[in-house]
C-alpha cells in the first residue's frame, strides 16, 4: 500500500481511542443518574462534579481525535 493511503488508515485507527471516551462519559452520566434517582435531593449539588468528571473522561477521547487530525494533516 502507498504511504498516503496508510496515513488515512492510521488516522482512522487513532480515532479508535474515542471508544474509551465514549464508555467513560457513559459511565459517568449513567452512574450519576443511578445515584440521583436513589437520592434526588443530593443530586443538584453534584452537577458540577458530574460535568468535571465527564470533561476529564472526554479529554482523553479528544486527545485521540487531535492525534487523528495531526496524522491526517502530517
Amino acid at each position: 500500500m502507498e504511504s498516503e493511503a496508510l496515513k488515512y488508515v492510521g488516522a482512522g485507527l487513532a480515532t479508535l481511542g474515542m471508544i474509551g471516551a465514549g464508555i467513560g462519559v457513559g459511565n459517568v452520566f449513567g452512574n450519576f443518574l443511578n445515584g440521583a434517582l436513589r437520592n434526588p435531593s443530593a443530586a443538584g449539588s453534584q452537577i458540577g462534579n458530574l460535568f468535571v468528571g465527564a470533561a476529564l473522561a472526554e479529554a482523553l477521547g479528544i486527545l485521540a481525535f487531535v492525534l487523528g487530525i495531526l496524522i491526517l494533516n502530517s
Partner: protein, 263 residues
C-alpha cells in the same frame, strides 16, 4: 464536498507592517496584523463588556429579566469559586470570571459568525498556559518552597514515593496541555461535524438536481435535521466547555491555595 477544515483558516483583515526586535542570540519578527481570529476575540470582549455594562447600568433590587441573566452568570462563578477554593477564593474570582466570559464569548460568537477563536490551538494554549503560570506564581508566593509538597501526597508510604512523585509531576505538567486540548478539540470537532452535515445537504441537492429527487429530498431532510440538532448540542457544548475550563482553573488554584490542609 466543501472542505470542513477550510473554516479554521486564518487570514488578515487589516494588514499592519511587520517589525522585528532582537534579543541576545536570536531576532524575532512580529506581525501585528489584525486577523479574523483577533477580530473574533475582540468581538467576544466587546460583547461581554457591552452586556455587563448594560446589566449594571440601572441596577434594581428586584432584577428585571436582563439583569437576572447577568446576576445568574455572576452567581454561577461566584458560587463555584467559593465552593471549591473556600473563603480565600474571592481574590481569584475576577480571573476565573474573566476567563469564563472570554471563553464563553468566543464559543458563542463562533456559533453565530464564521470564525471560532477557541478552535485555534494557539488561543486555547495561551489561556491554559496563563492559568498554569498563575497557579505557579500563587503557589510559590503563598507556600514558598513548600509548593513542592504538591507533588508528595500525604498518607502515602515512603516506599512508593519514588514512583508517585514523577507521576504527580508529569500529571501537573500535563494540566495546561489537557486544558488547552479539551477546549480546542471540542470546538474544532463540533464545528467540523456541523460542516460535514451541511456538506451532506449540498450533496443531496446535487442528487435531486441529477434526477433522483425522492432520495435527494430524503437525505437532505435527514441532514438538515442533523444540522439543527447538532447546532443545539453545540450551544450546550459552548457553555459547558467554558464552565469546565473555569471549574478546572478553580481546582488547580485550590491545589496551591489550600496546600496541605484540604478545606
Amino acid at each position: 464536498m466543501a472542505d470542513p477544515i477550510h473554516q479554521f483558516e486564518i487570514h488578515k483583515v487589516v494588514d499592519l507592517s511587520q517589525f522585528s526586535f532582537a534579543l541576545p542570540g536570536t531576532s524575532y519578527v512580529v506581525d501585528p496584523s489584525i486577523t479574523n481570529s483577533v477580530v473574533s476575540m475582540m468581538a467576544a470582549v466587546a460583547l461581554f463588556t457591552v452586556v455587563f455594562g448594560a446589566v449594571t447600568a440601572r441596577p434594581q433590587v428586584v432584577p428585571g429579566r436582563f439583569q437576572a441573566v447577568g446576576e445568574m452568570l455572576f452567581g454561577l462563578i461566584d458560587g463555584l469559586v467559593s465552593s471549591i477554593i473556600g473563603h480565600d477564593g474571592r481574590k481569584y474570582f475576577p480571573y476565573i470570571f474573566a476567563l469564563f466570559l472570554f471563553v464563553l464569548g468566543m464559543n458563542l460568537i463562533g456559533l453565530f459568525l464564521v470564525f471560532t477563536a477557541t478552535s485555534q490551538l494557539a488561543v486555547t494554549a495561551t489561556l491554559g498556559l496563563m492559568t498554569i503560570v498563575l497557579v505557579l506564581i500563587v503557589g510559590f508566593a503563598k507556600n514558598g518552597v513548600g509548593f513542592f509538597k504538591l507533588f508528595v501526597p500525604s498518607g502515602v508510604p515512603w516506599l512508593v514515593l519514588p514512583l508517585i512523585i514523577p507521576i504527580e509531576i508529569i500529571s501537573f505538567l500535563l494540566r495546561p496541555v489537557t486544558l488547552a486540548l479539551r477546549l480546542f478539540g471540542n470546538m474544532m470537532g463540533g464545528h467540523v461535524a456541523l460542516k460535514v452535515f451541511a456538506g451532506f445537504i449540498a450533496g443531496a441537492v446535487g442528487m435531486a438536481a441529477a434526477g433522483s429527487g425522492l432520495m435527494g429530498g430524503f437525505v437532505g431532510a435527514l441532514s438538515l435535521g442533523g444540522v439543527v440538532a447538532l447546532t443545539a448540542l453545540e450551544f450546550l457544548v459552548a457553555f459547558l466547555q467554558a464552565f469546565v475550563f473555569a471549574v478546572l482553573a478553580c481546582i488547580y488554584l485550590n491545589d496551591v491555595v489550600n496546600l496541605g490542609h484540604g478545606h
